[in-house]
Each structure stands twice: as structure tokens, then as C-alpha cells.
Amino acid sequence: MMGAASDIAATETAAARVAKASRLSRQRIRSAWLFLAPMLIVLAAVALYPLYRTIWFSFTDASLDLLGEARFIGWRNYLEYVDYGNGDGEWFGLLADPRWWRSVWNTVWFALVSVSLETLFGLVIALVLHKKFPGRVWVQAAVLIPWAIPTIVSARMWAWMLHDQFGIVNDMLQRLGLIDAPVAWTASPETAMIAVIMVDVWKTTPFMALLILAGLQMVPKDMYEAARLDGVPPFRLFRKVTLPLIMPALLVAIVFRALDALRVFDIVYVMTPNTDATRTMSVYARENLFDFDRFAYGSAASTLLFFIIALITIGFIYATRMNLEGDER
């Protein structure tokens, strides 16, 4: 550092000379901001400002119809101790609400299980698609179809298939002798989460498979050929060569999916409305915002959800040191 500093001083303050000479690139940089401005303004209006307002509302007593008259009330939506005066008292607020914690748990559980299953199935499908076989393109197209179907549509399609009386799933399972009596998949608390996870896995595994496939296709072919010549058994080959090489792609895919799963709303809202068994953070927040007329309280839940996801994202970026600058020429 010291050496470099004195070098610069020695060569007649290079910095000053640089600053003077770069009019053309300053012009270019100015045009860069000009090109970015419209996009940044829209993003600020649609993301940053609303986010700021949500956080603000979480510290107020705002209600749906009286947004303008919201008053600051500090942390009371989050946690508040109400003293009953007789030495007794009670905790209120989001952090003291068992239903909130239940929905946090539901969300985390949902994300954990569905992403794990998606990774596993995605890996299998990607490995299959990575092979060359007649009709491969058609199989890939078929695999893509669940991804293309709107979430709401898949939720309803599956709700119908999982119908307790007329559903085809119960029928199949009964024919196969796996269950004796029809199961009320979406209605009963024990199976509601299973149903929701099943649909999510079905719908998003294609995305996972594609990302993993892209990772696989970046692994140089001669690597496999060399290993095969050495007589490495296929499973070992997968564990020692393929897996480490696709790990970066796999990690990115997992994080993308995990962040997506943590904000899950549609499937739960449509398939299993109003049950403690599946209520996720997003569902909890929206319920309070618009159904229970506890706008500020719902905003607090939204805010917490945001920070949970933000923490995970930042942690990931640091952990993997993602190269965002891209390749400098």
C-alpha cells in the first residue's frame, strides 16, 4: 500500500491527471445513469417506497379505511406488555401471538420440505434429460408443462384430484390397496400440509430440473470420459465429479427456490383456506391486512417476513461471494 502510494506521488500525482483526462468516459457514465433512470424510478416507486410505507405502517395504528390518519405507536404491533394494574399483565403483539409463530413454523417447514424434494426430484429429472435418448426433446417439453400452468390452476386441479369423495387420487390409492377409506387431503389438518407441499413440488420441480440441467451441461464431457476410462463406478462418479461441479448451479437454484417458497401464498390460499395447519406468513399477513381489518398489525407481519428473507439473501450472497460484476473485458 505504502509503496503504491509513494509511486503515485512520484509519478506526478497520477490521480489528478486521470481526473482531468476522462471527459469522454464521464460523458458515457452520465449517459449510463440517464439510461438507468427510468427503470430505477419505476423500481423505487413500486418497491422501495411501498416497502418503506409498509414498515412505517407497522409502527402505527393504521386501519384499512383510515390510512391517512395513522399515528405512530412504536413497537406495540410487535410486542407490548399490558399491565392490568393488579400486578398481573399480559404480552400482546405479533411476537406474542402463537398463530404467528405457527405460521412462521408452517412456512419454514413448507420451504424446507418442498425445496428438498424439488432438489431431489429435479436432480433425477436433470440427470435423465442430460442423457441422449430418442424423444428427449419431447420429454423435456412434457416436464416443462407443470411449470407453465398457473399456480392457481394447478392448485385447483389438484384440489379436484385430491377431492375426498370424487378425487382420482383416493380412487387410485384405494385400488392399489394403500388406503382403506378415502382421505380428506385438503380438509384434514394432518394431511393439508402434505397436499400443499405435493402440489408445490409438482409445479416447481421443472424449474429446478432445468437449472440443474444447465449446470450439468456446463461440465466438460471429457471429464466423464476420463473417469469412465479409469473405471470409476457411476455412483462414485456422480458423487466425486458431477456433484461438486454442479454445486454452484445447484446452490443458486436452491436459494432461488427457497426464497420463493418462503413467500408462498397462492397455493395455500386456494387449496387450504383458513386452517392453522397450513397458514404461512404471507397468508397470515394478508389475512390481517384485508380480512381482519388490522392493517398495521398485518404490516408488522409483512415487515418481519421481509427481514427474514432479506437476512437469508444477504447471508447467501456473502456465503457464495456471487460475482455480480460479471466478466470485465
Binding site: M39, P150, T151, R286, F306
Partner: protein
């Protein structure tokens, strides 16, 4: 480890069969159901038993559903056009001009695409009401920017970086301004990438549910996902499953066709958006 070759092959194709079956069966079953009516609906059929278009007729004849499809088309199309327009210049700056803070900016844009939509819902709701956009389709066009814009910017930036720098430099030597370079060089060269990106953004917008559920309040304004989610009967036993499945097939079929046509492009677009990050 030393299973005979034919067993391996059979096993492999069995796996392929299972993969294809699980992917296609639910949609197949939805089509099957949508063609049934009356009693047939309440019998579990694995193969088409009847061919009855009355579900489709009843969905399309009541007028509202047609209007809702148009709503969805309008919202998704306008959203995509605006996003692409804003994103093409922005991604030029992000991909081709070196300036301080570029990495941080990309990071911010990426993280906006990770925003949980619920986190901005209260604030957006306030904005939408303040601008008098409540129950207007423009509220969706506006709010959908939160996911289509970062996505299009990100993907187009990736594609734009892949174009050779020398072409741009040749244009600079030819005296083209940055805007001309974008318009005359990059847009024509990135046309396929823009189609891909636009298609993916279109699908996202077409499928969105939370904002559409929140910002629209009347039936005739709704988009199709909300419409389908809200079809219900007076009681659990009167849910018109046939109609729901018919509506589902109607909104899904175009997407499936698009996916089949643009399969390769979609795959490259999806992976450009994620893997190369």
C-alpha cells in the same frame, strides 16, 4: 453394479415414463373433467368417457369470463412491453458501461426480484388508492413491474454481455450515439433474447395472484387466476368442478402451446436469469 444392460435400459425408460406421466397426468385429467358433465363428473374416469362441451359453453357464454381473459391479456401484454422498453436501455448501461456502484446496483435489482410481494402490499395498496387506481387494471400493470422489471433487466443484461464488445466499438467509431447503438445494433441483435424474456415475463404476469386479488374488487375487472380461484358453489357440494376445469384449460392451453413452441428459448432464458448470476 453389474445389472444386465437390458435391465438398465428398461429401468431407464420406466423412469422416463414415470416422469412424463406425472408431468402430464394432472393436466390430462383436468381436460378429461372439463369434458364431463352431470353424473359423469362424479365418477372417477381414467379414460375419456363422454365428450361434452357444455362446461366450456357455460364459461364462455356468461360474458364475464371472456372479459376476464381480455383483462389478463391486457395486463400481461402492457406490463411486458413497458418492462422491455425500460429494461433494454437499463441493461445496456449495466452490461456495457463501467461505472462505480454497478455491482451494487445489480445486486439491488436482483434483490428486488426476491422481494416477498406481501412486504410491499400495504405500501402499494396505499399508492394504488392514492392514485385512484383501485379496481383499475393499471394498478396491476404498475405493481407487476416489481417482478417483471428486475427479471427482464437481469436477463437482458446477461444476454447483452455475451455480445462482442467490438461490434459496439465499431458503431462508436461509426459515430453512433449510445441511443442509436441500442436501437440500431442491440435491439435487432437481441431480438430473440427479448422475445424469450418477454415471454417469460408474460407468463409471470399472467399467473400473478396476490396483487390481482387485492387491487381489483369487481368481477368484470378481475384477471383469470383470481376468477378461477373465486369460482365456488353455495356449498362444498355445489362447487362447479366442471366449469373450473374448463376455465383452467382455457387459460392454460395457450401457455402450454407457447411453451412447446419456444421450449428451447425458454430454457435458455430461465437459466440465463439464474445460473449465470
Amino acid at each position: 453394479m453389474t445389472a444386465p444392460a437390458w435391465l438398465k435400459t428398461t429401468g431407464f425408460y420406466l423412469l422416463v415414463g414415470i416422469i412424463v406421466l406425472q408431468a402430464l397426468f394432472p393436466f390430462y385429467y383436468a381436460i378429461l373433467t372439463s369434458l364431463e358433465d352431470g353424473q359423469a363428473l362424479f365418477e372417477v374416469n381414467y379414460l375419456p368417457a363422454v365428450f361434452d362441451l357444455s362446461n366450456y359453453r357455460s364459461m364462455l357464454s356468461d360474458g364475464v369470463f371472456g372479459k376476464q381473459i381480455l383483462n389478463s391479456v391486457f395486463v400481461a401484454t402492457v406490463t411486458v412491453i413497458i418492462s422491455l422498453f425500460l429494461a433494454i436501455t437499463a441493461s445496456f448501461a449495466l452490461a456495457r458501461i463501467r461505472f462505480r456502484g454497478r455491482g451494487l446496483l445489480l445486486l439491488t435489482i436482483l434483490s428486488v426480484s426476491m422481494f416477498p410481494q406481501i412486504a410491499v402490499l400495504s405500501g402499494l395498496f396505499e399508492l394504488v388508492r392514492a392514485f385512484g387506481l383501485f379496481n383499475s387494471l393499471w394498478s396491476l400493470v404498475f405493481s407487476y413491474m416489481i417482478f417483471t422489471l428486475p427479471f427482464t433487466v437481469w436477463v437482458l443484461t446477461t444476454f447483452m454481455r455475451a455480445l462482442p464488445v467490438e461490434i459496439e466499438e465499431a458503431a462508436i467509431m461509426d459515430g453512433a450515439s449510445s441511443f442509436t447503438i441500442i436501437r440500431r445494433i442491440f435491439v435487432p441483435l437481441l431480438w430473440p433474447a427479448m422475445v424469450t424474456t418477454g415471454l417469460l415475463a408474460f407468463i409471470q404476469a399472467w399467473n400473478e395472484f396476490l396483487f390481482a386479488l387485492t387491487f381489483l374488487s369487481t368481477d368484470s375487472q378481475r384477471t383469470v387466476p383470481v376468477a378461477i380461484a373465486l369460482i365456488s358453489g353455495r356449498s362444498e357440494f355445489e362447487v362447479p368442478w366442471g366449469n373450473i376445469m374448463a376455465a383452467s384449460v382455457i387459460v392454460t392451453l395457450p401457455l402450454v402451446v407457447l411453451v412447446l413452441i419456444f421450449q428451447r428459448r425458454i430454457v435458455s432464458g430461465l437459466t440465463a436469469g439464474a445460473v449465470k448470476g
